[in-house]
């Protein structure tokens, strides 16, 4: 049967943890990107180091698609369990490449003896490179680019390994070309020269580079999936970029250490997931009363408690919205694209510094693990300067000012003393039980700052017709999937509003929502946490909700079908 794949190709590689999915994905995505293809990849995996069944989707498209699709065009199952694992995503159009002998399946395969070839090259480990070669060969990719990439990728491991990988790649190539020819498989996917020069990075790297661009020089965190990548990123680049990255003993230590560092003049960030954040909440409240800046990245996964540790979800909005005893202001962001993640994280460092409030960035497993491109020229340094002042001898840390923001001094810089207190305090930062002072401090923290924070809030992005009467609201990582589903739905009066700032809301929110006679909020949780927040904050009437809380991301197909029903 002939296959003609036009404009949009979804490749899925599936197998056990440790079997080499990541190696194949890495080689494929990077080689295709260097040829100018728009490449997007996303993974799903089990909470185990070896075994189980995981998969990665690599999407190559003419129109730079950046969302998860259920559909699989080209499937590479590496073990027996992969086929049932992905069965509901396979169709008769799906091309399956694998080893008949190993997979023991009734599905019709293009049989490629990957292991046998790898053994022939010298070791079973080369099977991954052979597999990448098969796909590249089928797509009639540029051999020279692929070979160059393999050479530089394996160069650290010595000439022999380089030579064997090139051998493995070329054997794969030949098989791929042959298969494409004999089975009449063709691909027509447009390339874009700009992609070759674009920066290729994961969601967590976008957050990491954003932190660096925002002048982050301190990170104390405790490992927890799926948030750990940021600590790893900053630890690995720490020395060259001047970042002190410390794995704390626990989350409580991590956040208190970070507050100590900010107090002494560092620009800190913390990364955690829901359970870790729950442990930190007392210190979030400490940041609230001491007005010490705080930037916290929370990569969400489904709970409660340990929940589904490696899956995706948007269940922690309520947690971060209400975390901490007492009342204090906060900012909550939820980037939806790599660019937003970069800019928002850099911006968060500056906002925390300037307004001296906790700033929380919500991502999720789907987002931190995705891989895509950004134009390098868009990645700029934050021009904001440090807001730390040199203190005078009469310095008062909590000086009452018109906008609620007291100039922030740090110990050892200037002539004054910097006193911060978890107790209610006077302007000098010392403990007080004076009720008038309490009122003045509440005014300062809650009301005066709230006015300032509302002015700098990000507006939601409305995608679709200006004269929409139906509106779907999404937040965080559902940006691209909602955008594509909107396009596919073909609905003329439907628009999507994406919120990258969830709290406080931009003052245009009420009007944007009111235009939607049908107003649907779509999010990866069961109870509609953002929908509820919108109702409370804007008094809007939400007419429908699209929720998914099973740990899987929304797919383009699913949202399209939901949008069509509106």
């Amino acid at each position: 049967m002939a296959h003609h794949i036009k404009d949009d190709l979804s490749i899925v590689i599936s197998g056990q943890a440790g079997q080499g999915i990541q190696s194949i994905e890495y080689l494929l995505t990077h080689i295709l990107k260097l040829q100018g293809y728009h490449v997007f990849a996303v993974k799903e995996y089990m909470s185990r180091v070896r075994g189980g069944t995981n998969s990665t989707e690599v999407r190559i498209s003419s129109n730079d698609r950046r969302a998860f699709v259920d559909r699989i065009d080209l499937f590479l199952p590496l073990d027996k369990s992969s086929i049932p694992h992905c069965a509901d995503r396979l169709s008769k159009e799906t091309i399956i490449i694998g080893e008949q002998k190993r997979l023991e399946t009734d599905y019709k395969l293009l049989d490629v003896p990957l292991l046998e070839i790898a053994h022939d090259v010298g070791n079973r480990i080369f099977a991954n490179t052979v597999a990448a070669g098969v796909v590249l060969g089928m797509m009639q990719s540029d051999r020279a680019i692929a070979e160059d990439y393999i050479r530089s990728f394996f160069s650290r491991k010595g000439d022999e390994i380089v030579a064997k990988n090139i051998d493995a790649l070329m054997r794969g190539f030949k098989i791929g070309e042959h298969l494409a020819f004999t089975h009449e498989i063709t691909f027509t996917i447009e390339k874009d020269e700009a992609v070759k020069e674009a920066v290729f990075l994961t969601g967590i790297e976008a957050v990491g580079f954003g932190a660096l661009a925002g002048g982050c020089n301190f990170c104390s965190s405790y490992p927890m999936s799926p948030s750990t990548g940021l600590l790893t990123f900053l630890a690995q680049h720490g020395k060259e970029c001047g970042v002190l990255a410390e794995q704390a003993t626990d989350e409580i230590g991590a956040i208190n250490m970070n507050l100590g560092a900010w107090y002494a003049g560092a620009r800190g960030i913390i990364t955690t997931s829901g359970g870790g954040f729950a442990l930190m909440t007392e210190a979030v409240s400490l940041a609230g009363i001491t007005e010490i800046p705080l930037v916290l990245h929370l990569a969400q996964r489904p709970g409660p408690a340990t929940g589904l540790p490696t899956r995706t979800g948007q269940e922690d909005l309520n947690l971060v919205r209400y975390a901490g005893h007492g009342e204090f202001p906060r900012i909550i962001f939820a980037p939806g694209s790599l660019m937003q993640a970069y800019k928002i994280t850099a911006h968060a460092m500056d906002l925390a510094d300037e307004y001296q409030v906790p700033v929380i960035i919500l991502t999720d497993q789907y987002f931190v693990d995705l891989l895509s491109t950004i134009e390098s020229t868009d990645l700029k340094e934050s021009k904001d300067k440090n807001h730390v002042i040199e203190t005078k001898s009469d310095y008062q840390r909590y000086e009452l000012t018109d906008n609620g923001i007291s100039p922030r001094g740090i110990p050892g810089y200037g002539k004054g003393f910097v006193c911060v207190d978890s107790d209610e305090h006077d302007e000098s930062g010392h403990i007080t039980e004076d009720h008038d002072m309490r009122d003045a401090m509440t005014q300062k923290r809650l009301y005066k700052k709230a006015v300032a924070l509302a002015k700098v809030a990000f507006a939601p992005e409305v995608i679709g017709p200006k004269d929409y009467t139906q509106l779907v609201v999404v937040w965080g990582s559902n940006y691209h999937v909602a955008k594509e589903a909107l396009e596919r739905s073909g609905k003329k009066k439907l628009a999507v509003a994406h919120f990258s700032q969830l709290y406080p809301l931009h003052n245009s929110t009420k009007k944007i929502l009111a235009q939607g006679k049908k107003l649907i909020v779509c999010e990866n949780n069961e109870t509609g946490q953002f929908a509820n927040l919108l109702e409370v904050e804007t008094k809007c009437t939400i007419t429908g909700r699209i929720n998914r809380s099973n740990g899987k991301p929304f797919s383009v197909e699913y949202l399209t079908s939901q949008f069509k029903k509106i």
């Binding site: 100590g260 003049g265 620009r267 340094e381």
Partner: protein
């Protein structure tokens, strides 16, 4: 309610301060000896000092000293102090808090701060009772002590802070008695001067809630470690720390040569400046970004 004494020290508050300790509290002599140590023995500029504390009666001490202060959460003084020292190693960082705060609520932080050998000093006001919450047992309360929440008497073993610190290989371990301020001041000064993590456990009477471990009770049991005690001998320090009937005071163990946490991070290898004085390294970051092409 007692008023602070007249200004005698640059660390004194500039105005009369309403001190929240009970008359006769063992915290008063600790406050005085600390200020004397900082000025007379160490000549530290108050602007380069940060006093860090958690919550409790002892943790109020930084409120009564004219210097930089971070009065944080219950049990969480040590990670805060670690962050401060890591961000600016030029600062002298001293934690003053109680036995409940450091050994109880903050026990996990204590263990791991010792391991890091952060160059800070921890002064634990050890009165073997909870004062601020009105008389419940602390992690150092002796077995049998009757309290409102342990009416049949404490039935768990107390923590031995010195033995615990030694087991974690703390680089400076000492015990002092607030009832002997001159000796205690010397020990505090040695602890702050020590490069690396230093812990001083100070016996202190709670005159309101602990009717057993009184000034007299401590006075009858304490004695100074003899001059022959070799402070570089960790095993002997252990032996002395385990003494129970009579309680030795002094420096049990000191190892000056060890790398501190701040040094070990490598961030200060090529640049001694504190983090706030540094420029953003945009060229390096940009190169990293471009390497992702």
């Amino acid at each position: 309610m007692a008023l602070a004494q007249k200004n005698t020290n640059e660390f004194d508050m500039p105005h009369e301060t309403d001190i929240a300790w009970c008359p006769g509290c063992g915290n008063f002599p600790i406050l005085q000896m600390l200020k004397k140590s900082l000025r007379d023995d160490l000549a530290i500029d108050p602007k380069d000092l940060v006093l860090v504390s958690g919550i409790g009666q002892a943790a109020k001490l930084p409120q009564y000293v004219k210097t930089n202060m971070f009065n944080g959460l219950h049990g969480r003084a040590l990670p805060v102090a670690t962050g401060i020292k890591a961000a600016n190693p030029r600062l002298t960082v001293v934690v003053t808090s109680g036995d409940g705060d450091v050994y109880g609520e903050g026990g996990n932080h204590f263990i791991h701060t010792v391991r890091r050998n952060v160059n800070i000093t921890v002064i634990v006001h050890n009165n073997m009772i909870y004062g601020l919450t009105k008389g419940q047992a602390s992690p150092t309360s002796e077995k049998g002590l009757v309290t409102p929440t342990q009416p049949q008497g404490v039935y768990v073993d107390p923590i031995n802070p010195l033995a615990l610190s030694l087991s974690l290989n703390a680089s400076f371990v000492a015990r002092a008695n607030a009832g002997d301020p001159e000796h205690a001041q010397k020990i505090i000064s040695a602890a702050i001067a020590h490069k690396g993590f230093s812990i001083v456990d100070i016996f202190q009477a709670c005159v309101v809630f602990n009717k057993v471990n009184t000034y007299k009770w401590f006075q009858d049991r304490v004695y100074e470690l003899d001059v022959q005690h070799d402070t570089s001998d960790r095993q002997m320090a252990f032996v002395r720390a385990l003494e129970e009937d009579m309680l030795p005071m002094g420096i049990f163990y000191q190892d000056e040569g060890r790398e501190t946490f701040e040094e070990a991070t490598g961030v200060y290898d090529a640049d001694e400046r504190p983090l706030y004085e540094r420029e953003r390294q945009w060229n390096t970051i940009e190169a990293l970004i471009n390497a992702k092409k």
